[in-house]
């Protein structure tokens, strides 16, 4: 019920944005970019929060997803809407080579994933016959538009909203399941959890595959929105760092945190900080993130939740006093 209510609220909020900005392609484009980051942030949190594995290399899955979908649609002639989920599967398959590093923990795991991301970037550069090499792929088929007479921007926006909501619902389902409980428990002690019958390695591997699949889907979506790909762009460290920053800023222990965080930091950066400090506006973002970690390490969503419960307590107190 709570999940359904959350989905309804998200869809309503998204519809309001679409209604207000449907004629403003620039703002709608910013929302599409913010929600793409939100999707990757959510996928990152799936691994980081539930799996307890902090990844510094989600750009690997994002890039593989982007290239896979672009090649399937451009070279093999697949429909874009079929190529996008297939690219998720390719990204999940690419994550299989990372299974051995699931035995690593903490910084060792994070650095190993970072190294994998670099390997994929080099592969994309060197396999020029397939990927176009350093020059990349141009004229990648766009997301089909013209559905019900809607503009390209609205179609892309609606699709990314749908993908983010779907991922959030899946995340919530996993979190509330027995596997979710076990995953949370594993972060304390894998040994203590394994002697309760929990298949520790299998659960961690499942989280890695899910996270890679979701990231690959958003990478594929992004490739069809912007229409071109280069290794340095598709596998850029930004696709690892920005979603992580968004998730931490919003509160990566919650389902809504990464989404709220991504929208907040991206829109603040593009609409406010960029105007205030045209050169080096990311510095303001960095300061904001430091402040958030110092004053509310659990992120933005817990602050909002605390504020709301304080207001409701205050109302209750006034009601009792009256």
């Amino acid at each position: 019920m709570k999940t359904l209510l959350g989905v309804l609220c998200a869809v309503l909020a998204a519809a309001s944005v679409a209604a207000i900005f449907h004629t403003n392609g620039y703002i709608l484009g910013l929302f599409v970019a913010a929600l793409t980051i939100a999707g990757v942030a959510l996928a990152w949190a799936l691994l980081g929060n539930l799996g307890g594995m902090i990844s510094l290399g989600h750009a690997a899955f994002f890039g593989v997803g982007g290239y896979a979908s672009a090649i399937l649609a451009k070279s093999a002639g697949w429909p874009v809407l079929l190529a996008i989920p297939s690219a998720g599967v390719v990204a999940a398959m690419a994550s299989l080579v990372m299974l051995p590093i699931l035995r690593l923990r903490g910084a060792y795991f994070a650095l190993a994933v970072l190294a994998y991301a670099e390997v994929f970037r080099i592969l994309a550069t060197e396999a020029s016959g397939l990927t176009g090499g350093a020059a990349g792929l141009l004229s990648i088929p766009r997301i089909p538009s013209g559905v019900f007479g809607l503009s390209d921007g609205i179609v892309a926006y609606s699709l990314v909203v749908g993908l983010v909501v779907l991922l959030a619902v899946c995340y919530d389902r996993v979190r509330r399941s027995y596997s979710g409980l076990a995953l949370r428990a594993m972060q304390d002690s894998e040994a203590a959890t394994s002697v309760l019958g929990v298949p520790v390695f299998r659960l961690k591997a499942t989280m890695l595959l899910l996270s890679a699949f979701a990231t690959g889907v958003f990478g594929a979506f992004n490739a069809h929105v912007i229409g071109f790909l280069q290794p340095d762009y598709a596998f850029s460290g930004d696709w690892s760092i920005l979603p992580m920053v968004a998730a931490i800023f919003g509160g990566y222990r919650t389902v809504t945190g990464p989404i709220v965080g991504a929208i907040a930091i991206y829109l603040l950066d593009q609409l406010v900080f960029k105007n205030l400090v045209p050169q080096g506006h990311q510095i303001v973002l960095g300061i904001l993130l430091c402040a958030m970690i110092l004053f509310s390490p659990r992120g933005l969503v817990p602050i909002i939740t605390r504020g709301r419960s304080a207001v409701s307590k205050d109302k209750d107190a006034r009601h009792v006093a009256a």
Binding site: Y178, L181, A185, Q187, T193, S194, V195, L196, V198, F201
Partner: protein, 239 residues
């Protein structure tokens, strides 16, 4: 039920266990004693699959456990507790038991969890509490409860009496006796208190420097000069 044959475990050049061979019968309580560093906890880790055997074999109800992952051993019926309780800290007491029941016991039966909470005397307000908010005694109860929720046939208890007051020790003694007599479980317990071991166990196994040096009734074992020398340190001057 449980049979260890020539079990050895080494960490680098250190032999934590050397050629340990013994068996455990159904519904019996066996004490495992020995000085610190004798290899008692390593033996539990070897049986539950947390460390690899260098040599030997472990069989449980006729099935080899040697190459099974820890979670498969749990499903085969091997349950254990840790010396320092390791509750699943992010979860409530009830959730701790639910995870164990779901994965280890292969069922999701709320009624069984309720009965278990009553059995462990954690049924008042404690079941909804975070596991970290429990007292030491309650944490130790939860530690046993998690193992019981996996529906074990063999329960390995690692120093459950350590740090408990007299009343707590009495509760745990009664509980262990009930587990063997009513639940028909085999219990292997690591314990330093000779009086407790003598009262509860029909049989005692003594380890020293990773080797099994005695196996028998408490009366015979605790009078064995080799045990007296290694376990209590007494008699060294006489030798």
């Amino acid at each position: 039920m449980l049979q260890l044959e020539d079990v050895s475990v080494s960490f680098g050049g250190i032999h934590a266990l050397s050629n340990v061979t013994f068996g455990v019968e159904d519904a019996s309580i066996v004490g495992l004693v020995g000085p610190n560093g004798a290899g008692k906890t390593t033996l539990f880790d070897a049986i539950s699959g947390l460390v690899r055997l260098t040599k030997g074999e472990i069989r449980f109800n006729g099935r080899s456990l040697t190459n099974l992952a820890p979670h498969h051993r749990v499903r085969a019926g091997v349950g254990r507790s840790f010396q320092v309780p390791r509750p699943l800290r992010e979860l409530t007491v009830r959730e701790n038991l639910m995870v164990a029941q779901h994965f280890g016991g292969g069922s999701d039966d709320e009624a069984t969890i309720d009965k278990l909470l009553v059995f462990l005397e954690l049924n008042n307000r404690q079941h909804a509490m975070a596991a970290t908010d429990l007292s030491l005694t309650q944490r130790k109860m939860l530690e046993i409860g998690k193992a019981l929720a996996t529906r074990p046939k063999l329960l390995m208890l690692d120093e459950v009496f350590a740090g408990l007051e007299t009343a707590g020790k009495r509760s745990f003694s009664d509980l262990i006796l009930r587990l063997a007599q009513e639940w028909k479980l085999s219990v292997v317990m690591i314990e330093h208190d000779i009086e407790t071991i003598s009262r509860l166990c029909q049989r005692v196994i003594v380890l020293d420097f990773g080797r099994l040096i005695a196996d028998g009734t408490p009366e015979t074992v605790f009078e064995d000069p080799a045990v007296v020398r290694s376990y209590t340190g007494a008699g060294t001057e006489d030798a």
